[in-house]
């Protein structure tokens, strides 16, 4: 057979072309909204007004120069409650999926990589957890351990574990049979190294996209639980409990329910938009065959 030597012009290969990435105005709007919410939540304690000071004469007062978004049914400043509520919603909304992604992701990867009895055990126990009605679990835990932000976060976190486990396991199952894993083994990599260096970067992408979706869902679920009175204890405000409280005066002052609802809607939408865009941008496999 004839030998063909590669003769690529050095200059051509020196600067591999980088694709310019377009993000679009929607992405930036979402980022701006998220920054605003995060900044407000972080700087809430610097605000000159309190979310719990009541002014009984100003109940359901319309927006004014002093109270930009008006007052709620108990005469508390709506804007202050909204901002303090952002703290709770974001804390729970971020911490619960972090519990889910850590425990669920680890279990899923181990189950998908090692298979065997461990996998059966993990999948079985997750099925049990999935079959358990989440509302009953939330009721039972709050009744037993009391209503607190920590308990709420833990409940929502634990409820998220099975979904994260399934995403991680499914991704690991398909990846663990790919040749690069065998190649890593052939190069003398340990199980820990294969899991952390070869598989984790691959599994992390779908898991992170799912995480952002999980944040959005958790914020909504926390709202629903607070609406039902299972969320944060009063007088602490969260967006969900604000909607719940606003429901009582829906005919007189509908804005009391709508303002937190719109805030929640925009925040959840931003998380989804940013999540989708980031996934599309950071996935180096998009260019693969």
């Amino acid at each position: 057979m004839a030998t063909l030597e590669l003769s690529i012009d050095q200059d051509v290969a020196v600067s591999p072309i980088r694709r310019t990435r377009r993000l679009g105005p929607l992405f930036w709007a979402a980022i701006a909204w998220m920054s605003l919410v995060f900044a407000a939540a972080a700087l809430a304690s610097l605000l000159p007004f309190s979310p719990t000071d009541m002014d009984m004469l100003e109940r359901r007062a319309p927006p004014s120069a002093l109270h930009w978004l008006g007052n709620d049914g108990l005469g508390r400043d709506e804007l202050a409650r909204l901002i303090y509520g952002a703290r709770i919603s974001l804390t729970v909304g971020l911490c619960a999926p972090i519990i889910g992604i850590t425990i669920g992701g680890a279990l899923g990867m181990l189950a998908g990589y090692f298979r065997g009895r461990f996998e059966t055990l993990v999948v079985g126990s997750m099925d049990v957890l999935l079959a358990f009605p989440p509302l009953i679990l939330a009721l039972a835990v709050t009744a037993y351990l009391g209503q607190s932000i920590l308990n709420l976060t833990c409940i929502l976190g634990v409820l998220g574990i099975p979904a994260f486990m399934r995403v991680a396991r499914a991704a690991t199952l398909t990846l663990a049979r790919r040749e690069f894993v065998i190649a890593a083994q052939a190069l003398g990599a340990t199980h820990a190294r294969i899991l952390l260096r070869e598989l984790l970067p691959n599994v992390f992408l779908p898991l992170f996209a799912f995480f952002l979706l999980g944040v959005a869902v958790t914020i909504v679920v926390e709202g629903a639980l607070s609406f039902l009175g299972l969320g944060v204890p009063p007088p602490i405000s969260s967006w969900g409990s604000m909607i719940g409280e606003g429901r009582e005066s829906l005919e007189i002052a509908p804005r009391l329910a709508f303002i937190p609802a719109v805030t929640m809607f925009l925040t959840v939408l931003s998380f989804n938009l940013v999540g989708d865009t980031l996934r599309a941008l950071t996935d180096p496999r998009q260019g693969a065959l």
């Binding site: 057979m1 004839a2 298979r115 190649a183 070869e198 180096p284 496999r285 260019g287």
Partner: protein, 331 residues
């Protein structure tokens, strides 16, 4: 062969349990390869070539059962402690896989994949490992290696990726390189380049190489010895020149005849081997090639021929009716 024996495969058999019964993928294979020598393993798809290479590396699927011994450098790999085996892989034993599209991690840069292997086995610090990675990429014929280190596998062509895979395999100066159909997934013009690259690096580094392929043409000029496999068994084994001068096993002849000739007239039918390889879950009596062999006679269907010596010590084949006439071969 004057070189000391580096790897000797002794009576290796691999059984895979399947829903349809036990599948014998590799059936008592004996092979030896000396330090710095090259061995070609040739056979059609499903004849057990890949399973044999995985058996040597101890990377068989979990359910597979392996018997026999794989002696590498005086140690039996089958019975070696996992930790020592792990240290041996990559360091002394390396492998290049068939498909460079899947054998590189898609989400890590080429640099990361090379550097980590180097750090793992040679305990180099970051900068030294990076310098050496660039040298390795240059050695396998990748232009602008420093820039390539920062790229992801999907930014490279198939041939480039296979060069990277070879660079990773060569990174720790292994004593034995197993190339499992390294060019099957590449187009023909790249094939020759990759094979020549492998041959060049093999000579330069004085490492032994097992070249697994289904193409007799590939092993022709590039190996010292050839083993032809069929249905999990080695059916003919000889030094490469001897094999091409005087092949004895009808299967080898059929394999060679199945290579398309570049100077054949257009629309010449390709002389394919009729029939299919036997179902490995149902072992057949007699020679496993007999149903497809044009020389097969009564004895072939009843008894299994054993690997026996031909004229020279090195030339072995398993056939009752070996080809007598010298096959005219253009390699």
């Amino acid at each position: 062969m004057t070189e000391p024996v580096l790897l000797s495969v002794e009576g290796v058999a691999v059984d895979l349990p399947t829903p349809r019964g036990n599948l014998r993928a590799v059936d008592h294979v004996d092979l030896t390869i000396g330090a710095g020598r090259t061995l070609g393993i040739v056979g059609e798809s499903g004849c057990g070539k890949t399973m044999l290479s995985r058996a040597i590396l101890q990377l068989l699927p979990k359910k597979a059962k392996l018997s026999g011994r794989v002696m590498f450098d005086g140690q039996d790999l089958v019975r070696l402690a996992p930790e020592r085996l792990r240290k041996l892989r990559g360091r002394s034993l390396a492998v290049v896989f068939q498909d460079p599209m899947t054998s590189l991690n898609p989400v890590l840069t080429i640099g990361t994949q090379l550097v980590e292997t180097l750090q793992e086995h040679l305990e180099l610090d970051g900068n030294a490992a990076k310098r050496r990675s660039a040298e390795l990429l240059a050695a396998v014929g990748i232009p602008a290696p420093e820039q390539r280190l920062a790229q992801y596998p999907h930014q490279l062509s198939g041939g480039m990726r296979q060069r990277v895979a070879i660079a990773i395999a060569l990174s720790c100066e292994p004593k034995l390189l197993i190339a499992d159909e390294p060019t099957t997934a590449l187009d023909v013009t790249i094939q020759a380049q990759i094979l020549d690259l492998l041959a060049r690096e093999q000579r330069r580094r004085h490492m032994a190489m097992i070249l697994i392929t289904h193409d007799l043409g590939v092993v022709a000029g590039r190996t010292d010895e050839v083993a032809v496999m069929y249905a999990g068994r080695v059916v003919e084994r000889a030094p490469t020149p001897a094999l091409f001068k005087k092949m004895r096993m009808p299967y080898t002849e059929a394999l060679l005849a199945a290579i398309p000739k570049i100077d054949a007239a257009p629309h010449t039918p390709l002389p394919a081997i009729s029939g299919r390889p036997p179902d490995p879950t149902r072992p057949i009596q007699g020679c496993s090639f007999s149903p497809r062999c044009r020389y097969a006679a009564g004895q072939c269907h009843r008894e299994k021929p054993l690997l026996a010596q031909a004229e020279s010590v090195d030339h072995q084949f398993a056939c009752f009716h070996p080809i007598q006439v010298a096959a005219g071969v253009r390699a």
